[in-house]
């Protein structure tokens, strides 16, 4: 729909490490009993992937499941599938205590790709970003400089960052600034 604009209009800065707004993505916050069989089933149905372990993120194309806390998942789906996915969850979990909300537009997705991605993030992130500290397929909820974010890598080299939409510009500028010069070569 032409009425739709993302937080940064697809901004990108290319270089050794490329920072790019990752475009639209459907995101659903699901809180509930993660061991509930119906919940697992509908999550798999909506995203096509299995329930991740603690801190895990399982992806298949644009869709995926990320473990956010012992009672919270983030479901990733195509942007235009978010509302219908919430409806599916509502139908499946009717009668149980849960909360499913479309938060796609509350978030922005920014990718950090190419050589040195870990060191770009390490300028502004206190988390252990060594491959041993943040292995692929694991999501770390942390902060980038002054705002909370979630970061993960599927292949071990390229990273995705999720932040609140209102600070997408700040996070983008932060990463683009860090990407201007090479890091110390530690990571």
């Amino acid at each position: 729909m032409s009425n739709v604009t993302s937080a940064l209009n697809g901004r990108e800065v290319t270089g050794v490490t490329t920072i790019r707004e990752g475009g639209f993505r459907g995101m659903i916050t699901l809180r509930g009993d993660l061991s509930n069989a119906n919940l697992k089933k509908v999550c798999k149905a909506v995203t096509g992937v299995d329930m991740p372990a603690q801190r895990g993120v399982n992806m298949h194309g644009e869709s995926g499941l990320a473990w956010m806390s012992p009672d919270e998942l983030l479901l990733l789906v195509p942007h235009d599938a978010a509302d219908e996915s919430v409806a599916k969850i509502d139908a499946a979990l009717n009668g149980t205590h849960y909360l499913a909300v479309n938060v796609s537009d509350a978030r922005a997705l920014i990718t950090v790709q190419g050589k040195g991605a870990r060191e770009v993030l390490a300028r502004v992130c206190p988390a252990d970003l060594r491959a041993s500290g943040l292995p692929k397929g694991e999501m770390r909820r942390t902060r980038l400089a002054q705002v909370p974010t979630a970061i993960w890598t599927q292949d071990g080299d390229d990273f995705a960052v999720i932040c609140f939409r209102s600070v997408a510009g700040y996070v983008f500028d932060l990463l683009a600034n860090a990407a201007k010069t090479p890091g110390p070569g530690l990571l």
Binding site: S69, P70, P126, R141
Partner: protein, 109 residues
């Protein structure tokens, strides 16, 4: 700058990813309580030199509150545990006893 293990995420969180929430295991006083009891609940806090129990929130992380047992002198962390409990777990209290024999904190020892 401390690091504390979030018992929910099982990661070592940096102090800058955490929010300090003051003393743990406060008992809420409310309507019907005596003035003195209510004021103690609102204002009176432990200030120990040694073993202390605190509340922390993994604010730039999973968002969960947890409890930490810590030595205010050496900053040794004896353990972190769920916030959904009225007392420090027994195994943690025993661990503290081996490290700080004879410790007491409020009603706990």
């Amino acid at each position: 700058m401390l690091t504390l293990e979030c018992p929910y995420c099982s990661i070592q969180a940096d102090e800058t990813e955490l929010h300090a929430g003051g003393e743990a295991h406060l008992k809420r006083e409310t309507v019907g309580s005596l003035d003195n009891d209510f004021e103690d609940y609102l204002f009176m806090r432990e200030n120990p030199k040694g073993v202390h129990f605190e509340r922390w929130r993994h604010v730039a992380g999973c968002g969960k509150w947890f409890h930490a047992a810590r030595c205010t002198m050496t900053l040794e962390v004896f353990g972190t545990y769920s916030a959904q409990t009225l007392a420090p777990p027994k195994d943690l209290r025993e661990k503290i006893s081996t490290k700080r024999p004879g410790w007491t904190w409020r009603a706990f020892s």
